[in-house]
Subunit: 399 residues, 2 copies
């Protein structure tokens, strides 16, 4: 059996995702699709709309055969580490290929961009250094250095100003670091851009657009046309149980409590908290009227929205620099769910996997896994769960 | 002008308190009554029903002239440290005497009990050691040693099994440690025992009884006869603004969040967390259905209700062993409020006080004070305050 991997958040699973899964199978002639999916907290530093089990159900109902969890350490990290964790896990799970979305379905611009930087590392670094002296931010300097490199060596490259392209670039890089035992492929993304609002004429909307519609209009019906019916049903069930979707808006009273419970010195133990941002966090947490008001008060050129949200995620979950940075390599494959087809694959290939497959967390003692469990516990607090859907009592979803 | 001091929590201020204040003034012929009052968290390890400003208003409306704050470090400590902090502050504020409630108004049994232990320290310690070997708890062993000492040296002593007597004992001890520059006196407590439920025939009820009535029956009218009318009005106003009184029941979602956000190792940084209680806290915080359910699950012979509540107070406020134990001597007199009469006293004697008088916290940098400010911030989180009654923006109450 052949397996193709995809790297996903499914926040929530929509028609564009269903299309990608279908095409991934077709393009690679794979028998099973394995999705490595972020757990409760996502790469932009946000809680997922609904928990990882609900999102696993959505995926299994719409074409994915196996869902494994991208550990918290990677799911909340910057693109490079996020991609490395994800591709490592897909390789460990036995995928021969992985696919990712692109604007035009051509892999070459990604490969060429990677080679461009790879082969001109010294020049690239010199450019970055030079641009940094002009006082611009590090990400901005990376961008400018990349442009300068392209002028030096003309060719067809990807635009690294686009978030999806940055991820694609780092997937290629990860495959390279993993000695290309797992092969990349790309599939044209259809219908909607990464952050586009929903469009009533289409069946495809970005996850960002769908979330906006859910939070701003609060009418689930509005997104019906953009998601497979199992997603719709699962969102409806979730809303009935929790009366809200998870967001920083929902979690704000607890986040504020977490911030104010620390001294500035204690806050600086959390990842990426430095340069005095700890004082601003405390000062504005006291007076902010809402999460958005808080963010408006603390954001700056240096501290972008995403960077701040990642910091807040770690403060919220209580996961320190020391705990987060103790781990750089995935050490397990956490199974969140599988179809019958997925189960067949696992039965056949489990023993060949290069990392242990974990179905029951209670049987495992692993520091990296303990952070995933913590993330779930804290996610649940935000929704005032009591005893449901705990990492210990939720077995892998079967479909 | 002569000042008499009282050590209080006023949770809430009731008729028994009003009687004590009146008698204290009469007995000592003092011109002003100074109350050293616990801030937002109390000696039994609980948040106060209403905040320190509301309680200050109650006191000033019913006979107290000056209210100063007993810092968090002392207000949440065991009896010995609580009493030492309180009596030190009353002395520093210029009180020649202090009064406390007793069953029969006789001071001698307190003094004799103190001298009994003081003069037979070695024998007392030997008794304690002996009783500890039988496997009983430390407080129990203290109790037994005290009984044994009384048998050896017959006399009229106080019963140290009663919480109020324990406090009285430690007030005497504190005065002794402070070289008896401040003199103790005692006033007969009338009407109700420390923990007695309310009695419809009486005008006196214990604060415990009043709180029970407020939480269990939720009808403010039921306590009307037991409190001065300003107390009643202030409780009514509070209820209108916050719709609830502060309690662990109200604070439970935040307390649970605080516990679960830590590893067992991190929890052991909080005062008195040791011997594995950190594991029990995390385990039961996950599954408990309410604060009371949680307490039932974690309490034991070794960890009594009060001891646990004090631990939980420190976890809730985020105040660590290191922060709490850095301070053993009061270093400021924090003014919470005063009447005109109180203000006259302060104007005359302020410069003779042996500690700085603080009216505005913003002007002061003091580590012990920063814990009081933190306690207020965290107290407010439990009631979902936004920007009201902060330590920085609330000047002393004037009446």
């Amino acid at each position: 059996m052949q397996a193709v991997g995809v790297v996903v958040e499914y926040n929530p699973f929509h028609n564009g995702h269903a299309y990608h899964v279908q095409q991934a199978k077709k393009l690679t002639k794979a028998d099973v699709v394995i999705a490595v999916m972020s757990g409760q907290f996502l790469q932009r530093g946000e809680p997922a709309l609904v928990d990882k089990w609900a999102r696993t159900k959505m995926a299994l109902a719409s074409g994915v055969d196996i869902v494994i969890e991208l550990p918290y350490v990677f799911s909340t990290a910057h693109a490079k580490q996020f991609a490395y964790g994800a591709i490592s896990l897909l390789q460990a799970a036995g995928c021969q290929t992985f696919t990712f979305g692109s604007e035009d379905g051509r892999l070459e611009p990604f490969l060429d961009s990677f080679v461009l930087i790879q082969q001109n590392k010294e020049l690239y670094d010199a450019f970055i250094k030079e641009f940094m002296t002009t006082g611009i931010s590090y990400p901005k300097a990376l961008q400018e250095a990349y442009t300068a490199l392209q002028q030096q060596f003309p060719g067809t490259y990807i635009d690294l100003a686009k978030p999806n392209n940055i991820l694609g670039f780092h997937y290629i890089e990860a495959a390279h670091l993993l000695k290309n035992k797992i092969q990349p492929a790309t599939i044209t993304r259809i219908g909607a851009g990464y952050h586009d609002a929903i469009n009533e004429q289409s069946q495809i909307a970005s996850a960002t657009g769908i979330r906006q519609a859910l939070f701003q209009e609060k009418v689930l019906q509005n997104i019906n046309q953009f998601v497979p019916s199992p997603t719709y049903q699962l969102l409806e069930e979730w809303q009935q149980v929790h009366s809200t979707f998870a967001s920083w808006h929902t979690f704000w009273p607890l986040l504020r409590f977490a911030i104010l419970r620390h001294t500035p010195e204690q806050l600086s133990a959390f990842p990426d908290v430095s340069e005095g941002i700890e004082y601003a966090l405390i000062k504005h947490a006291k007076n902010a009227l809402s999460f958005n008001d808080f963010m408006d008060k603390i954001k700056s050129k240096r501290y972008t929205w995403t960077r701040l949200q990642r910091i807040l995620t770690h403060i919220y979950t209580g996961i320190t620099k020391q705990q987060l940075h103790a781990h750089t390599e995935p050490s397990y494959i956490r199974l969140l769910g599988m179809t019958e087809n997925g189960q067949r694959y696992l039965s056949m290939y489990k023993k060949h996997m290069t990392l242990p497959l974990i179905s029951r967390v209670a049987a495992t003692q692993n520091d990296m896994l303990s952070l995933d469990i913590r993330a779930t516990t804290m996610y649940q607090q935000g929704l005032s769960f009591h005893t449901m859907n705990d990492d210990y009592n939720t077995p892998p979803i079967r479909r």
